[in-house]
């Protein structure tokens, strides 16, 4: 973990159930970082870029992103985060979604997504994947947002 500031996890996920399951399993993996949950793209973008306590203004963050959102596509958010000149373009983004379409996966990596995970329906696999993600989160270095 970051020495100076604890890394916040921003979860953008419209399905409350999924969000809960993800959170539970992250906690079970022993990750205690703060998790902020947003169910739509607009408020999530507001927080990411404009909120005083958001990652752009203060502290590094890791973003968990679902692609199927009610108000916009997750890829739009990904594009905003990874855009040239974005203060968050170095923030790691984990796309965690049900879409396993090859074209969509390629598109996400092209846009700069760091990890793409398909939510398996089989819960054991799902829990396993999230816990492994937790282990992964516990060792990666997350850069601070650019001022």
């Amino acid at each position: 973990m970051n020495d100076h500031k604890s890394v916040g996890i921003v979860m953008i996920e419209d399905d409350e159930g999924h969000a809960r399951l993800i959170e539970k399993n992250i906690r079970r993996a022993g990750i205690l970082n703060d998790i902020r949950h947003f169910t739509d793209g607009t408020t999530a973008l507001d927080f990411l870029f404009d909120a005083a306590d958001g990652p752009a203004k203060s502290g590094p963050a890791l973003i968990l992103l679902d692609l199927n959102l009610p108000d916009m596509s997750g890829t739009d958010i990904l594009a905003r985060i990874k855009a040239e000149g974005s203060p968050l373009r170095r923030a790691p983004v984990v796309v965690l979604t049900t879409t396993d379409d090859k074209v969509e996966i390629q598109r996400c990596y092209d846009l700069g997504c760091n990890v793409y995970i398909t939510k398996p329906v089989n819960y054991e696999s799902f829990a396993q994947a999230i816990r492994q993600l937790g282990l992964f989160l516990s060792v990666i270095q997350v850069p601070s947002a650019e001022s």
Partner: protein, 502 residues
């Protein structure tokens, strides 16, 4: 689909039937006229013969008369002159009398009236001849005077007159007969002419009718041919149009299937996830009940015990099984839609080679199930997507080895024909067959037919049909329950010429 009837309209058919009936009648009448003409001709010949006979009889009468007169003239000459010239002339002519008489008798023996007259003439001729012989003998002896005296008194002259009279009567009778016979012949000729005229008229009518019938049939044939031609022309377009429609509908369904299956997964993740959470939460509860039962049995109600030990695990088990099944179905739809979205690359393909590859890859399955697969050679080559064709044939052949009639070794054949610019590939088996009511149903997603004794989700044939549509083709099945099935895949010979939509 437009259905074009090639049958003649009812009224036209009736007219054609009448025409044929008239023509038949005409031919019968013509045959009758020919028979009548033949009969009349035969009769005419008989009448002509009768007339000729009458002429002969007249000739014979005339000959007899001439001989009679000539011999009499010779006798009288001899009586007057005593010149031997007349004696010789008499001998010659008198000799001819008897044959002339015989000839006349033989030619009139059929006519009793003439015979009666001849019967009167003949004795008179005899008497006359003896009188003549006497006078000739007297002259020969030089007694000319006595001979002349005798001639003046004997019956020679009345006899001659009587014979002449009777011969004239005979001649008159023959003239009468000639008139009757000529008349009869003339009437017969008239009849012949009229019958011939009627026959000619009939011939004309039949000929006209025949021409009419032929023209009508030719026109009908021409019209049928034109319609058929038109049908053939439009059939191609119809097929292309229909497959384009199918292909569009298919694409839409693929998109729909993709979206639906995709969105169904989301809630399913929750159901599965929270069921697992529930199971995990149920475990400590069950442990608690166990402990409570051990330490303070009085606080454990039977309901609580049953709920923790039976109801909860059972409910969770059912939810799990159902969601797992749903997951499989959704994955199947997803796979189907993903296949549908795969891009199609037409290339020349030899179905026999594709068949060989499939048989090689599932040889162990074929052997295990005790079946044999044969592939006709040569199979018509076509230009299509190799992978899609491989998947279609593989599904069909594998199905054929899977659904065998118990107690009958499976015999599976891959056959093919080329029809214009379509190629029809058939997978023919002798398996358990499919009931006619299920022929459409088996191609529907998640639908299966017959005894459910083989594993499967009812996806294969739906997949096959979706692929067939994508290749601009169709698929159907011909089958009798218990006697095997034939799956016919109808594909365009060249997918590149088929439709640009695919």
């Amino acid at each position: 689909m437009a259905r074009i009837s090639l049958k003649l309209p009812q009224s036209e058919g009736r007219i054609a039937r009448w025409l044929v009936a008239f023509m038949t009648l005409g031919f019968v009448a013509l045959a009758a006229a020919a028979v009548a003409i033949g009969w009349i001709t035969v009769r005419n010949a008989r009448y002509t013969a009768d007339i000729l006979h009458t002429q002969d009889v007249r000739q014979a009468i005339a000959t007899l008369q001439v001989e009679m007169e000539q011999s009499e003239t010779a006798r009288r000459g001899y009586l007057l002159t005593g010149l031997p010239l007349f004696s010789t002339a008499y001998e010659t002519t008198a000799q001819r009398l008897a044959p002339a008489l015989t000839a006349l008798r033989s030619s009139t023996h059929d006519n009793p009236r003439q015979t009666a007259r001849l019967d009167l003439i003949e004795p008179r001729v005899g008497q006359l001849r003896s009188l003549r012989t006497q006078s000739i003998a007297l002259v020969d002896a030089g007694r000319i005077g006595e001979a002349q005296r005798r001639f003046a008194v004997d019956a020679s002259v009345p006899l001659m007159r009587s014979i002449r009279y009777r011969l004239r009567a005979m001649a008159a009778e023959e003239v009468r007969l000639l008139e009757i016979r000529s008349d009869r012949q003339q009437r017969s000729n008239m009849l012949f002419l009229s019958v011939a005229g009627v026959a000619a008229l009939l011939l004309l009518v039949v000929a006209i009718l025949a021409i009419l019938v032929i023209r009508r049939y030719t026109a009908d044939l021409g019209a049928s041919r034109d319609r058929l031609h038109l049908l053939n022309e439009t059939l191609e377009d119809q097929v292309v149009e229909r497959t384009a429609d199918l292909s569009r509908a298919n694409d839409e369904i693929q998109r729909f299937a993709y979206i639906v299956s995709h969105d169904l997964r989301s809630p399913l993740v929750n159901v599965m996830g929270f069921t697992a959470e529930l199971a995990e939460a149920a475990a400590p509860l069950a442990a608690l009940i166990d402990r409570a039962e051990a330490i303070a049995p009085e606080i454990v109600t039977p309901e609580a015990r049953i709920a923790a030990r039976e109801d909860l695990p059972e409910a969770i088990g059912f939810i799990r099984a159902s969601t797992q099944k749903m997951d499989r179905l959704i994955n199947a739809i997803l796979k189907l839609s993903r296949e549908g979205r795969r891009s199609i690359t037409p290339e020349p393909v030899d179905p026999a080679a594709v068949g060989d590859a499939i048989v090689a890859s599932i040889q162990h399955l074929i052997d295990d199930r005790g079946a044999t697969v044969t592939i006709d050679r040569p199979l018509p080559a076509l230009v299509t997507d190799r992978l899609a064709l491989e998947q279609i044939l593989s599904n069909l052949i594998e199905n054929a080895t899977k659904y065998l009639q118990p107690g009958r070794p499976g015999v599976i054949r891959l056959a093919g024909t080329r029809e214009r610019n379509r190629v029809i590939l058939s997978v023919i088996d002798n398996g358990r067959g499919i009931a006619p009511g299920d022929h459409q149903r088996v191609f529907d997603l998640f639908r299966r037919a017959g005894p459910q004794d083989q594993p499967g989700e009812g996806i294969g044939l739906a997949h096959v049909r979706a692929l067939a549509y994508r290749l601009g083709g169709t698929i159907d099945v011909v089958s009798t329950l218990g006697e095997g099935a034939t799956f016919r895949l109808n594909l365009p010979f060249d997918l590149r010429l088929q439709d640009p939509v695919a």
